[in-house]
Symmetry: C2
Subunit: 293 residues, 2 copies
């Protein structure tokens, strides 16, 4: 997927070209920031309909009006399925939104964030302070380096969760979509550990969803996909794939962990509710058939 | 919302302009049909990514790749919540998809379909036979006339369900979004009757969702909104609003009605599953707050 910011008839637009043969055009109020890092073009702009956007190589990566949907779902779903999450590795996530959500879990004592692109971090610190100030928390250690290399050299660590909060499989995130990478992730997870990674939309790349499901089913005890409804992502949705070290751990646990969390945090959540969480693994029939579940 | 089919650089596109300040461009393989009826411009085209589309005044109304999401959700959710649906009135729905789904319910003995625009019916009969052949069923009576007038003159009828399967509140469907119309609908519903109508997306027209919720709360025993995930609708989703004559009827009923339906029909459904149906009333936190629920 690619796109660009264009000026036309006295107005400014983000034209998201593709993926495939469908494109979206957002009218912008103002372009606030534009800088080419060694990895990608990093832009920040205010759109009229969807608020402030982080745009990487012309694609909406984070957007004010629906970032809560994404960050709450990528963080809390695995954190609430793990019986006792303590230590978390976030690959990508340089905007800080996933970390902001993880910090709402009192059991979580340590978070490593590994984003390859320091420019994403510094520009979000300036333009998305409500996301990136999460990096100031003493429980968080930020590493600006290659996530694949970081995982390779972390074999003595044990994480409860590995959250791959990356961009598309094409570009700087390419190495995050290989068998080797997820096998290395498995090696650093605790006995009830969960890895979660994006696996595209069945309307755009059904074959990627199938491949990631198949790969996670081979590598982990269980692969569990779930859908995030995301207006500013192509086809309005994205699927996440979880790989669980121990499926039994989620069926054994009583629900007090998630009940306690929602009791104390519902007022700090924008999107996720206890009822949505209970039904998060319910997939549409066509996706079940695509995955032959 | 408006849009048009455009030729550019040897290719053909549907440009959906808006609503508001976001637009979508679908590359088309071929435009199959284009005719201006007394009510709207009716076009049918094959898009590369989303298959065949019915395009009304430049907006995607029905689309091959996600029509099942819409038609299964608009038909089966109210039909499964009603304890014994027998007679149904569909306003709009000239493509035939909603009727196709309703016919899967053995209890339903009669369906009146009232679409103002005969051109929609005849073009769908030619280009969407898998939708429009539903009109050939002996249980269905098709009326090409104004839905508002039809309801006004139907006061002696009793319907289990009134399904308003309309286009946007602007244009030929405008009269379907008034208090008077829904009060007339209430007068023709049976004691456990349900009316369902579209109420826009909270990302595009949050005020419409609020207004329809508020109106239905005043007119009916209960207003129950639910979300349909729809890639080709603006913001990738649309909300439906149900108005129930008798909320008690859905809490009293045992679940054998829906269990029997799914037992015998799951193989004929593309999108809806028993689990999705069970969680259909679970709304995101921001929508609950918008509706002050």
């Amino acid at each position: 997927m690619q796109g660009s910011i264009k000026y036309d008839d006295g107005k400014v637009y983000l034209e998201e070209v593709g993926p495939k043969h469908t494109s979206v055009r957002y009218e912008l109020k103002e372009v606030l920031h534009s800088k080419r890092s060694p990895f990608q073009l990093v832009e920040i702009a205010d759109s009229i309909d969807y608020g402030r956007m982080l745009i990487l190589d012309g694609c909406v990566n984070v957007c004010e009006r629906d970032e809560s949907n994404y960050h709450e779902m990528i963080a809390h779903v695995p954190a609430l399925l793990h019986p006792n999450p303590v230590s978390v590795l976030v690959i990508g996530g340089g905007d800080g939104g996933t970390v902001r959500e993880l910090l709402k879990h009192d059991t979580i004592r340590h978070i490593d964030v590994v984003d390859i692109d320091e420019e994403v971090v510094t520009s979000c610190q300036k333009y998305f302070p409500y996301l990136a100030t999460s990096f100031d928390d003493p429980r968080v250690v930020l590493h600006c380096e290659d996530g694949v290399e970081f995982v390779r050299h972390s074999r003595s660590s044990r994480y409860s969760l590995v959250i791959v909060d990356s961009s598309d499989p094409i570009g700087p995130a390419e190495g995050l979509f290989t068998r080797e990478f997820y096998e290395t992730c498995r090696a650093i997870l605790d006995e009830n550990g969960i890895v979660v990674a994006q696996s595209e939309s069945p309307y755009v790349y059904p074959e990627v969803l199938q491949q990631v499901y198949s790969l996670f089913s081979e590598i982990f005890s269980t692969a569990l996909p779930y859908r995030i409804v995301m207006p500013t992502y192509p086809s309005g949705q994205i699927y996440m794939m979880m790989g669980l070290m121990n499926f039994q751990s989620i069926t054994d646990q009583n629900t007090s962990h998630s009940r306690n969390f929602f009791n104390s945090h519902t007022k700090y959540l924008s999107y996720l509710t206890p009822h949505l969480f209970e039904s998060v693994l319910n997939l549409p029939g066509d996706v079940l058939r695509l995955l032959k579940k």
